[in-house]
């Protein structure tokens, strides 16, 4: 079967991959639906059961949405793809900044961040300006935005406000823009199937996160940092790493990597992604909210977006640069 897959054209391979993934998701959704039909006589058990089902279906919905978006991204042209990811950045940053205490003096910097930095970063990706793309935000924007804030003549909590804005830009724009940037990597003997590399990264990181979540839920252990995350234990983390990296090694046939390389790179992406998720959790605790959409708080939105993509935002730049460095691209 592996040989048959090897002999297909790249486009067919990717297509087959999507069929497989959609099939798996469908299977998971179906079994979850059947499970939700089961009734417990005990009222309390029933409630726990229902809560579990709700939690799982939430997770499944995220996976559906992510895979669907990447499927669309694969089907469509480069520009649509960029716009899609730029919109992702936009909504993530909107969520991030909603919960940061910005003041009126930050208004100009915010306008710059949303309407200048964000489009320009994606423009750099689209026009393959590699060198500027990697330093534009960490160097130029880092220096320019505080100037806009300083000119607004408001010294109250200046460092805090600027640090939060910089952080949001780094995670939501810089991190996210590395996902479509994978398309630009020019591997020898890997004729332009880079869309697949994007899917590879997303699948690996998402598998790692889902496994970690499930292990933490059903095999609870004392958490490592209970004030930040109740679900982060070394055990669940280890399982997540293992699952993500193994999947990466299995998928090696359709990437430019050898299985060993794919394993190592997936491991790097998973470590960055899951630890990044932990860091974002710490940020949320600081703002006193359980999830980004701020359930039960007055500041809300259509969101929860950042919650779902933060691990990807951390994994993508690390993955991108390790690949580039290792293969000398």
């Amino acid at each position: 079967m592996y040989d048959t897959l090897k002999n297909l054209s790249p486009a067919q391979q990717v297509g087959a991959m999507f069929v497989l993934v959609f099939g798996l998701l469908l299977l998971a959704s179906l079994s979850l639906f059947l499970l939700s039909m089961r009734e417990h006589e005990d009222g309390q058990k029933q409630q726990i059961h229902q809560e579990r089902i709700g939690n799982l279906s939430d997770l499944l919905r995220t996976s559906w949405a992510l895979i669907f978006v990447f499927w669309v991204a694969w089907l469509t042209s480069d520009i649509t793809r960029l716009v899609l990811f730029a919109l992702g950045s936009f909504f993530a940053l909107r969520e991030f900044l909603t919960l940061s205490p910005t003041r009126q003096g930050d208004h100009r910097s915010l306008v710059l961040a949303f309407f200048v930095v964000l489009p320009f970063q994606y423009y750099l990706v689209g026009t393959e300006h590699f060198d500027l793309f990697t330093v534009f935000i960490p160097v130029y924007v880092f220096l320019a935005l505080p100037v806009a804030s300083a000119l607004a003549n408001d010294p109250v909590r200046f460092l805090e406000r600027n640090a939060k804005l910089q952080w949001g830009i780094m995670v939501c724009i810089y991190g996210m823009s590395h996902v479509p940037a994978l398309m630009l990597l020019d591997f020898p003997r890997y004729d332009k199937q880079n869309a697949f590399l994007v899917l590879f990264l997303v699948l690996v990181v998402q598998t790692c996160m889902v496994t970690q979540h499930l292990v933490a839920r059903y095999r609870p252990r004392p958490p490592m940092a209970p004030n930040i995350s109740q679900s982060f234990t070394w055990q669940s983390w280890g399982w997540g790493m293992a699952a993500g990296s193994l999947l990466g090694a299995l998928l090696a046939g359709i990437t430019p990597f050898m299985p060993g390389q794919a394993f190592g790179l997936s491991l790097i992406a998973c470590v960055a992604g899951s630890l990044g998720h932990l860091v974002m959790k710490a940020l949320k605790r600081d703002r006193g909210i359980p999830i980004w959409r701020g359930q039960g708080k007055s500041v809300t939105g259509a969101g929860g977006m950042l919650d779902r993509i933060d691990s990807l935002c951390f994994a993508a730049p690390v993955f991108f640069h390790s690949v580039r460095w290792y293969f000398g691209l």
Binding site: L93, R94, T98, T102, S298, V299, T300, G303
Partner: protein
């Protein structure tokens, strides 16, 4: 007056009358999309469901965008029969503002300046008598602080005159961050409108006590 110019204005106003409804639909769709992208425009029906009953929604007022925000947060079916109350002095300053507020939002203008000869509530009473719902900002003007200013008596008087109309407090969160005073370009920040439980003037309750109660009902929605 010669007949020629009269014919021209006649033709022009007819053209405007024909194009205006279409343009209003286009503009309202555009504004809705823009607001959803910028703010999420989330409605949280915490104290009551969105129902097509005659209601007076009253909310805190921090920004001119409040009007657009609460309009966008209402479901489409209610938007048509719910009219916001807006300050005539600000919203009729330019012809574009006037057109948007009349053709798109269908607002009711009230004058801030008191005029001895007319009751400022007159147009509101008319609209309520027609069966429309109202969106009211009882502070009368935009506040600059987290807490709304003292409410004006109009709400109480309307409630006395129309006891069957439900009074719904609402808290609009975050809009002042989207476009602070004096800025032109809006910034994307998630905003929400929280609708509270209906309230009524209690028997024998005086104006001051009721307004106090209404104001704390609005503030109470902030932290939900």
């Amino acid at each position: 007056m010669s007949p020629a110019p009269r014919a021209e204005t006649h033709w022009r106003s007819r053209a405007v009358a024909r194009v205006s409804p279409l343009a209003a639909t286009v503009v309202s769709l555009f504004l809705l999309g823009l607001i959803r992208v910028l703010t999420g425009a989330q409605a949280r029906w915490w104290g009551c469901p969105p129902k097509a009953e005659q209601r007076i929604y009253f909310a805190n007022h921090q920004s001119h965008a409040d009007l657009v925000m609460i309009w966008a947060a209402l479901p489409k079916e209610l938007r048509r029969s719910t009219r916001a109350v807006a300050a005539r002095e600000y919203w009729t300053k330019s012809s574009l503002k006037r057109w948007i507020t009349t053709a798109v939002f269908n607002v009711i203008y009230v004058s801030r300046e008191r005029n001895a000869s007319e009751d400022p509530l007159e147009p509101l009473i008319e609209a309520l008598a027609d069966g429309d719902s109202l969106i009211l900002f009882p502070e009368g003007t935009r506040g600059h602080f987290d807490e709304p200013q003292a409410f004006k008596a109009g709400l109480y008087n309307l409630a006395l005159k129309f006891p069957q109309v439900e009074l719904i407090p609402a808290w609009i969160a975050n809009v002042q961050r989207v476009m602070p005073k004096g800025e032109v370009v809006p910034v994307p920040v998630l905003c929400s409108v929280t609708f509270g439980a209906p309230m009524q003037v209690l028997p024998g309750e005086d104006c001051h006590a009721f307004l106090q109660r209404a104001r704390s009902a609005v503030i109470g929605l902030r932290d939900i």
